[in-house]
């Protein structure tokens, strides 16, 4: 079931075109307010775009020029958002049976279907419970089952794990990985790991426009835009090649390994390396690293067990004890070192 | 109610229900007359709508299902005849005069109409716009006593309410109201009351679905049985 969409929502400055092939899961990444939810709302039929058209599996969902507009319940697109929004007055089983019943299936048959989907998301034992008694993770599982039980031609997931406790996210990701396999779906996420584990394709939206798209591994491993690199959490230096290294506009010379194809001197290239590969020192380090840069700490940003040290051009991730030991604070002067073997250089 | 009529009509051709619109002051007497009338006319049921006469006229004008109208004054009956709502000519069936009502024990020691003009006595009257108020104005004019009421109530019921609760020291109401209120009030008669006599006319109505029963009721009221009940309630003959 393939989706083809082009839509403009003027009031929100969103203008996107997107194709989802049959059985493909597309991850939509992008910063807050970039238009990800807007995109899903347009496809689901709860927001009317100002221009554009969409077809799902050959059926027209809407065509603004032609004045066609299918209401949400006739689209075959189930939408699952951050909040599971289980109907509080129905049991878990009846929540899941809601889709089949709405499409005219009888009570008993609908419950049959519901039970099967609950088992599929490993929530079969919750069937008789009331939504109020479920944990966040349980509720979201049931919501997934409910969306799937409606037998949608296209599944739309808007940050389905954003509201969950970190401890239940991995298990939920497993469930999604299983149910999304071979299914047409669009998943909006802030989380690069979701893209990595769940999606075949990645679309990056920024300020209402699609700025990068392609197969997941390509976009994340070899980002070509600064933004793509940001999503993958990588440092990216851009500039012409000079002595096999990349000379940035800031004047730094970044040495690294060229891939299969050596980038010729003078050609525009990008040097990509992980902040984790950057070590931080109070005095200029001796020894092997060829890339050593003096810098001033601008910001410290906690990232789980790590602290990201931001300087004007390069970010470094160090552990908390290191911050304490080096007594790092904004304004501290430091030296950053990266082994050339940790830097990948390829044509921009 | 109409389905009842239909079913009753099916097995007893004489069964009818008439609705009598009667001035609120007639409530006691007419309830009793209604019972007597039903006894005398098996198969006829009488129901009542008691309210102020002016309300009743406007309700009849608006198409209320009334068979008989008994007004507390001729003015309101005239409105009904003027609109051709009446069947035949109205007949006067009773008169009523005013009496002073005081709370039990007559705490303000009211003996005469003059006492009502005394300073510090709280008197309630009906507003001149309603029949009992018009009568009160008539009494004042006839006697030359100038009463300054603390309130000009909208109906006899409201006057009586203030007297019964002891809020007012005295009120001018109909003789029949004093009687109906029993020991809740003490009546004080005054000679000037004879100067203003309120006449009660009754008529069957043009819109009646049971004109015969309606006429029969009106006649019953003016007849001996009806007059006896009215007299017992304090009404005088016209």
């Amino acid at each position: 079931m393939s989706l083809s969409l082009s839509a403009t929502v003027t009031a929100r400055d969103v203008e996107v075109a997107l194709d989802v092939e049959d059985g493909q899961t597309v991850a939509v990444l992008g910063p807050n307010g970039s238009g990800k939810s807007t995109l899903l709302s347009v496809v689901a039929g709860i927001l009317r775009p100002d221009a554009g058209r969409a077809t799902l599996d050959g059926h027209t969902l809407f065509d603004v020029a032609a004045g066609t507009w299918l209401p949400p319940h006739e689209r075959g697109t189930a939408l699952l958002a951050q909040d599971p929004l289980l109907f509080p007055h129905l049991s878990v089983l009846d929540n899941v049976a809601f889709g089949p019943r709405s499409s005219g299936t009888g009570r008993a048959a609908s419950r049959e279907v519901a039970r099967a989907w609950l088992d599929e998301v490993e929530a079969g034992d919750l069937a008789g419970r009331r939504p109020a008694g479920l944990s966040g993770g349980q509720a979201q599982r049931v919501a997934i089952a409910r969306a799937l039980a409606a037998d949608p031609r296209l599944l739309l997931l808007d940050e389905p794990m954003a509201a969950l406790d970190v401890t239940v996210v991995p298990a939920m990701r497993q469930v999604l990985r299983r149910v999304l396999a071979g299914r047409s779906a669009v998943i909006v996420t802030h989380d690069v790991l979701d893209a990595l584990l769940l999606a075949d394709h990645v679309v990056v939206v920024e300020a209402g426009r699609i700025v990068e798209q392609g197969p997941t591994k390509d976009v994340l491993a070899r980002p070509r835009s600064t933004f793509g690199a940001g999503i993958a959490g990588l440092n990216l230096a851009r500039g012409p090649v000079e002595n096999s290294a990349v000379r940035t506009s800031g004047g730094l010379l970044v040495a690294g390994l060229h891939g299969d194809r050596v980038v010729p001197e003078g050609t525009a290239a990008v040097a990509v390396f992980s902040p984790g590969a950057v070590s931080v020192h109070r005095e200029r380090p001796g020894g092997s690293p060829r890339n050593v840069y003096p810098a001033v700490v601008r910001e410290l940003e906690p990232r789980g067990s790590q602290v990201r040290i931001r300087t004007d051009e390069i970010a470094a991730d160090v552990t908390v004890p290191v911050v304490a030991e080096l007594d790092l604070a904004p304004g501290t002067e430091v030296f950053l070192a990266v082994k050339a073997s940790e830097v990948a250089i390829y044509e921009a | 109610g109409s389905s009842d009529d239909a079913s009753r009509g099916a097995d007893a051709p004489k069964a009818t229900t008439i609705t009598v619109f009667a001035a609120a002051s007639l409530k006691g007497a007419f309830t009793e007359i209604g019972a007597e009338f039903e006894k005398a006319n098996p198969g006829v049921t009488v129901t009542f709508n008691f309210a102020g006469s002016a309300d009743l006229v406007s309700q009849i004008q608006q198409g209320a299902p009334a068979d008989v109208f008994a007004s507390a004054d001729t003015k309101n009956m005239d409105k009904a005849t003027g609109d051709d709502l009446v069947d035949g000519t109205p007949a006067d069936f009773a008169t009523n005069t005013l009496e002073i009502a005081t709370p039990p024990g007559n705490p303000a020691k009211i003996d005469s109409l003059d006492d009502l003009a005394r300073k510090g006595v709280k008197v309630v009257l009906c507003a001149p716009e309603v029949p009992c108020g018009a009568a009160a104005v008539g009494v004042e004019q006839a006697s030359g006593v100038d009463i300054a009421p603390v309130s000009e109530e909208q109906s006899v019921t409201d006057v009586l309410g203030k007297v019964i609760s002891g809020e007012a020291d005295a009120g001018l109401v109909y003789v029949t109201d004093v009687k109906a209120a029993g020991d809740q009030v003490v009546g004080v008669t005054f000679p000037e009351s004879g100067d203003v006599v309120n006449t009660y006319p009754i008529a069957s109505l043009a819109g009646s679905k049971s004109p015969e029963a309606a006429r029969a009721f009106a006649e019953f009221v003016t007849g001996t049985k009806g007059q006896a009940v009215l007299a017992a309630a304090g009404f005088a003959k016209p």
């Binding site: 809601f98 709405s102 | 109610g1 309210a51 608006q62 198409g63 299902p65």
Partner: protein
């Protein structure tokens, strides 16, 4: 962050609050003290009292049903759509809440009466509404409808549309959404509104006497009976008033109970 141990209400506030509570409660106590308890039972079970109470319960019930039938769609339209003039319409719909009932009764008479706006049309159709039990129900509905609309509109707005959106993307058509999601979700609010409407209908007096008259067994509801009894039988009036008070307290307590069970 609210906690049981910090109320933050200055202590002096209890004084005017107590005065206010007394101001409302004392009259009810005064009413109760006037009841002739010896004859209470016989007074409230006399034929006319019984008829009036039954009529009141029947008509108030019918009015409540009518309020639900008309009011739920009105609340939906007010809460869920927007159109030009909606604000004015909302003001108009609230009007019976603050209009003297007698004026409401006059207005109803001018609409449904024989010489009213719709009177002739209805006459032709053989419909005679004024002064029938139907008229009582209409008068009660007129004054009670705003209670239901206002309280339900609030509940609908508070509940939001999120569940409805989800239901529609699951394939439910609007009517199914209304029946299986919207209405069950706002049921407590709807119940509260319906009960308030019922209570208001039970107490309705001015519009009824003006529009429907006061025919025993047909249009003479409990408040009209109380008004009428006041003259000849004040004891009965007081006793019946107390019955009304008790019914109203029970009914309001019911609303609060329903609301209280919602967080």
């Amino acid at each position: 962050m609210a906690s049981a141990s910090w109320s933050g209400v200055p202590r002096w506030v209890w004084v005017p609050a107590g005065a206010g509570a007394l101001f409302i409660v004392l009259p009810l106590v005064a009413l109760a003290t006037r009841v002739e308890w010896g004859s209470f039972w016989s007074l409230i079970t006399s034929e006319s009292s019984r008829q009036a109470l039954l009529l009141s319960l029947r008509t108030s019930g019918a009015a409540t049903v009518l309020c639900v039938v008309l009011g739920v769609p009105m609340a939906l339209v007010l809460a869920r759509t927007s159109f030009r003039g909606q604000g004015l319409l909302r003001s108009l719909v609230l009007l019976p809440l603050v209009l003297p009932p007698v004026v409401g009764g006059i207005a109803l008479l001018y609409t449904f009466g024989r010489r009213g706006l719709l009177g002739e049309t209805m006459d032709v159709l053989g419909l005679q509404i004024a002064f029938s039990t139907t008229a009582v129900v209409i008068a009660q509905t007129f004054v009670s409808l705003p209670f239901l609309v206002v309280s339900l509109e609030g509940t609908l707005r508070t509940a939001g549309q999120r569940y409805e959106v989800v239901a529609s993307t699951l394939g439910a058509r609007p009517t199914t959404v209304l029946r299986r999601v919207t209405l069950p979700l706002v049921l407590p609010g709807l119940a509260a509104g319906a009960v308030l409407s019922f209570a208001r209908a039970l107490g309705e007096f001015g519009a009824t006497i003006t529009f429907a008259g006061s025919l025993e067994g047909v249009t003479r509801t409990l408040p009209l009976e109380i008004y009428l009894q006041r003259e000849t039988n004040p004891d009965a009036a007081v006793a019946l008033s107390l019955v009304l008070v008790v019914v109203a307290v029970l009914v309001i307590g019911l609303v609060r109970g329903t609301r209280g069970s919602q967080p």
